[in-house]
Amino acid sequence: MSITEDQARKVAHLARIAVDDAALPALARELSGILDFMEQLNEVDVDGVDPMTGVTPMRLKRREDVVTAGGVPEQVLSNAPDAREGFFAVPKVVE
């Protein structure tokens, strides 16, 4: 499977990672190399096999649907690059 520069640009955007146009050919080549390596999986007969979702045969734990933590806005915001008036601040989203 070969990845084109356009596909590399699209996947970079989906991943929200800025990539210079000049870097796209190398990126496309690397991604193609990795996908080629994965092609081996097509040799395996997987008919009737369910995709594995977890390795431990246990039911996911349940708990009471109650608040167990919270009320610590200062701690939540303490690492924010930009926090104002008890909120995370980001560039304008709506025009």
Binding site: I3, A8, V11, A12, H13, L14, A15, R16, I17, A18, V19, A26, L27, E30, L31, G33, I34, L35, F37, M38, E39, Q40, L41, N42, E43, V44, V46, V49, D50, P51, M52, T53, G54, V55, T56, M58, L60, K61, R63, V72, Q75, V76, S78, N79, A80, P81, D82, F88, V90, P91, K92, V93
Partner: protein, 494 residues
Amino acid sequence: MTDVNKLTIAAARDAMRKGEVTAVELTDACLAAIEGAGALNAFVHHTPDMARDMARAADARIAAGDATAMTGIPVGIKDVFCVKGVPSQAGSRILQGFTPEYESTVTRNLWDAGAVMLGKLNQDEFAMGSTNETSCYGPAINPWRGADGTQLTPGGSSGGSAAAVAADLCLGATGTDTGGSIRQPAAFTGTVGLKPTYGRVSRWGVIAYASSLDQAGPMTRTVRDAAIMLGAMASADPQDSTCVDLPVPDFEAALTGDIRGKRIGIPREYRVDNMPAELDALWRKGADMLRDAGAEIVDISLPHTKYALPAYYVIAPAEASSNLARYDGVRYGHRAKLSQGDGITEMYEKTRAQGFGPEVQRRIMIGTYVLSAGFYDAYYNRARKVRALIKRDFDQAFDAGIDAILAPAAPSAAFPLGSVDKGDPVQMYLNDVFTVTLNLAGLPGISVPVGQDAQGLPVGLQLFGRPFEEAELLNQALVLEQAAGFVAKPDRWW
């Protein structure tokens, strides 16, 4: 006592109880060793004040007769664990300046047991790498050097942990293992690395790479120390819904050294093409050691082994692309400086381009690709089906009466830093050929140093055990350790 930083955890515990050494003395010896080992680049955040406070508290606890086996034991913590108030950035620039407001369950358990925090240890960025070279701090250096003095990788991703334990900077260290990140660095440094069964140790507060594969474990100088430290790290934990509600056994008490009648499988698919002859010879020697101790050696087949690497390099990046979506410059860590007119999309894209290193970007993009519409079935679902078959291989071996499996830990001994072709990521991935199967199947595994290659570098073998039977696995590893009698240490050059 002198050079107390070189003690094993078990010996230090016994000496503290007899009053021959104090936790403060042990801690000071480790802090001095760390101070003198800057060249190894193993410790990347230092917490000497915290260490001395904790050591004094440990001494008081020992005096009061309220000590656990880990009380007063100075340890290093891989950067991936959140420690409250201490920088925790998983080797990534994108978490620069992040100091957690909460404590990971593993470190909480260690501090509750009385262990002493020396600092944070170097690692590959977000645990993605096998050489420590993807770290934002620059690579940790292996205390073992090549014959001509070449600097070698300590392996990865827990390379700082392995280097610190091998160089006697701490008595034990935490690691995490998503595809071999505890076992391969242990093998490269002549130390012991245990990856527990998935679900044995809580993942709460461990910065996530691939959540269905990640598992934390101890890295130590001996098997006994691994047993002691795992006992302190493991717990049931309501904060991690995949952490099992099983009692934590006394792993050390299970170390009887008796493995008579155990059936040890030798998987023929692990005898890969171009395996170095000395590695093959060592593997056979390891099997002989277990046979001499009364185990039965059985040739077994794990037919889907060959497909573990490609399956892993679909599943792990897929989970990583989802897990690492949280690094967006909003809640913590780095945010890019924006230009006039930049909106929120530019903020995300620039922040992530600046904050993530090349290998992490690559894995996020591969993961994004294999999860994207039109490719999900062809790649991600197919890989998860192959994963089910890999686990079935192990289930069938265990159902047939196999108690443990013996395999090499890595395809070679430690190699020079900078020797893996950066333009060919697949070349680095091949390093994980013997280790990823275990993560895909969720099984416990332990790497034990068994010998040295022609250059004098340590070589390890690994044992795989049945799910949640770490106690039995550790006992088998003890037999291997005792028979191998590996005592070599790197000459101090740093």
